[in-house]
């Protein structure tokens, strides 16, 4: 069994490029997407209402108030804004109404929820203020007073999303970093689990079966190896983020390691199940990479917590470990949770892992060539 594990490792060492490229990719993608939120991003706003100019002026001022979010809103013509989005020159634009807005976007890239969060906050705040000042004798005075108080709290206003999660001070960059790292780990894990199938097709598996190594030993070796490589890949990326790029990964590295270990096992099980379902390794290579990126998307890993509230998507997302891993990671990294507070996601990942592994190994075992 150890020999089988070591052979996998020897193959990896002969050809470490894949792992290195994948780690680099998770870092690169994170930098591209979170780097974008560091420098002011210019977003077109426009209105098509009757008194468009007044609306535009009012919201441009409000949206650009305060610069902590690095977003910059610029008024353009509706045609220009729409065309830019359609042709991919910009990610999104905001169409303004008197008291509401609409995001014009071409795809659900990770910056969308980030911008959405900010715009919604501004609109909600304004709605709150205007309701309050409506009946007032001195609207201007009251408005000024509320604004100062809101921005400078003795009075704290809690902005909540529909699902009720807290939104303030949320570090989307950190979340994206973990989301991308886990996404890349899912790829690596899948490819390594698929080695079982590859070796079956090439006859190596049969050779091992004829040897004194037991079948359980063989599965254990391949699966342990996939866990090992997934874990190493993920932890390397996280450590590079922490020590080289100075990302905030929270104070509890130990808990993070535990979460990653549970995630890796759980994901290896899912990949095994997947391997058991597809017909051959080629089909795996065709289908797995196209399915995997969808999972973090429907799990809401790229979005603000609570942004995604379609019950069907959420349910499907929850069947995969990445949503629970992200849940635990965010709790630990951003809200400084202790281990008791992440037991639930850990248990869920274990459950997914055990069930998927049980079914997966049985299906893989039945595949013959």
């Amino acid at each position: 069994m150890i020999s089988v594990f070591l052979a996998q490792l020897a193959k990896e060492r002969r050809n470490p490029l894949l792992i290195i490229v994948f780690i680099a990719a998770s870092i690169g993608v994170t930098l591209i997407f979170t780097g974008g939120t560091q420098s002011p991003e210019s977003i077109s706003i426009f209105s098509e209402e009757d008194h468009a100019q007044a609306i535009e002026e009012k919201w441009e001022r409000l949206l650009n108030e305060g610069d902590e979010n690095n977003l910059h809103f610029v008024t353009t013509t509706p045609e220009e804004a729409k065309e830019d989005v359609q042709q991919g020159r910009s990610d999104l634009a905001v169409r303004l109404f008197e008291n509401d807005y609409q995001l014009i976007k071409s795809s659900n890239i990770p910056t969308v929820p980030y911008v959405d969060q900010h715009v919604r906050k501004v609109f909600e705040k304004e709605a709150f203020i205007s309701t309050a000042v409506e009946q007032s004798e001195d609207p201007e005075g009251l408005r000024a007073e509320i604004t100062t108080k809101l921005d400078d709290p003795p009075m704290e206003m809690e902005v909540a999303s529909l699902a009720g999660d807290e939104l303030s001070n949320y570090d989307m960059g950190t979340q994206l970093m973990f989301a991308f790292t886990l996404l890349i780990a899912m790829f690596i894990i899948g490819f390594r689990v698929n080695n079982i199938m590859k070796d079956k097709v090439y006859g190596l598996w049969d050779r091992m079966i004829l040897s004194p190594v037991s079948k359980t030993g063989m599965y254990t070796a391949y699966i342990t190896y996939a866990c090992f490589i997934g874990f190493v890949q993920t932890m390397s990326a996280i450590l590079i983020f922490k020590y080289v790029l100075n990302y905030d990964v929270g104070e509890r590295l130990g808990l993070l390691i535990v979460i990653i270990a549970f995630f890796t096992f759980s994901m290896v099980s899912i990949a095994t199940l997947f391997t058991g379902i597809v017909k051959n390794p080629e089909q795996f290579y065709a289908i797995y990479p196209s399915v995997i990126p969808i999972i973090p998307l429907i799990s809401g890993a790229y979005m603000m917590p609570g942004t995604l509230n379609n019950p069907v998507l959420t349910f499907i997302g929850d069947l995969f470990p990445v949503s629970h891993a992200m849940d635990a990671i965010i709790n630990v990294v951003i809200y400084d949770a202790n281990w008791q507070e992440i037991i639930q996601p850990l248990v869920l990942m274990t459950l997914i892992g055990v069930v998927a592994m049980g079914i997966g190994v049985n299906l893989v075992e039945r595949r013959t060539y």
Binding site: S3, V4, L6, A7, A10, K11, R14, N15, Y202, G203, L204, D206, R207, M208, I209, L210, S211, P212, V213
Partner: protein, 310 residues
């Protein structure tokens, strides 16, 4: 040593091996010959316990191996039809891997690897990655991987497919050497007549999942006609000798050739002892004795109406 009894295999109603009875005695070299899809690999998989037969049995020294595959696996070396090696690793690393999983004792592993590399003639290439090997070299390492644990029985599934004649001869010589010097029992699968003719004492011919003929080379050839043709080379001859042979009741015809006689006798008749006896009486020395026959290829053609490589 190994025996199959009414061995059959069906994949989803389609029978691909049907009632195959074959046996291998200790030290024998037996060929399994048949065209593509005849069921050779499937038969081998069942013998080596990789595949469960639909019906029938495989026995090693009288004991069934189906319920207890451990026994046969211990004495078996199987060379699969495909190149089953880690392409990314070197020849040495591959052999070390197989040596380890086949439990070659640690102290012997290194020397076994070197001996085996020597045997397949690739000692100087051991540090090279399999991917960079030629087809013939890959085949040789593929065989070497099955030899590390010194198997008593060696099963080879088309080990010379798609390689150059030089590598092919090398492999054939190597297998012959294992069979003759080490006493390894060999089951050799092929669709090349010449190889089986060269290498094997006995041959089973398979087609459409069934054994359609079996026996020694000459036994198979005699299927072709009701007669055997023998060429006997003699140091001298005389009338009495020829007369005596003609009088053996199974002999149809005796012809004088330049350096001896040609005997046409009834199929499968054993006239050799009489031949030797008469020669002895007349003080004639038999220099050479040869069945003059068409090839196995013709036998297959005769049996199926097709050639082997159709």
């Amino acid at each position: 040593m190994i025996e199959t009894i009414q061995l059959s295999k069906a994949f989803k109603e389609r029978t691909v091996v049907e009632d195959v009875d074959l046996y291998l005695d200790k030290g024998e070299s037996v060929g399994l010959l048949g065209p593509n899809g005849a069921g050779k690999s499937t038969t081998i998989s069942m013998i080596s316990s990789l595949l469960k037969p639909t019906s029938g049995d495989v026995k090693l020294d009288g004991k069934s191996v189906i319920s207890d595959p451990g026994n046969i696996r211990k004495v078996l070396g199987v060379v699969p039809q495909e190149i089953a090696l880690y392409q990314e690793l070197t020849a040495y690393e591959n052999l070390k891997f197989f040596g380890r999983i086949y439990r070659v004792p640690k102290g012997q592993l290194e020397s076994r690897i070197q001996e085996t590399l020597e045997l397949v003639g690739l000692k100087d290439r051991q540090k090279d990655i399999i991917k960079t090997f030629s087809g013939g070299m890959k085949r040789r390492i593929n065989i070497a991987s099955a030899l590390l644990h010194n198997p008593k029985i060696l099963i080879l599934d088309e080990p010379t497919v798609g390689i150059d004649p030089q590598s092919r001869n090398y492999i054939l010589d190597m297998i012959r050497q294992l069979n003759e010097s080490n006493g390894t029992t060999v089951l050799y699968t092929s669709h090349y007549m010449e190889e089986v003719e060269q290498l094997c004492n006995r041959v089973y011919i398979m087609d459409h999942g069934k054994v359609i003929a079996s026996g020694s080379h000459s036994e198979l050839l005699s299927i072709l006609s009701n007669e055997d043709t023998m060429k006997v080379q003699l140091n001298q001859m005389n009338e009495d000798f020829i007369k005596a042979i003609q009088d053996i009741d199974v002999v149809r015809q005796v012809e004088e050739t330049g350096d001896g006689i040609k005997i046409i006798a009834k199929k499968s008749a054993n006239i050799i002892s009489s031949l030797v006896k008469f020669a002895d009486q007349q003080n004639i020395q038999i220099l050479n004795f040869q069945m003059e026959n068409p090839s196995l290829e013709d036998v297959f053609l005769h049996l199926t109406g097709r050639t082997l490589r159709d």
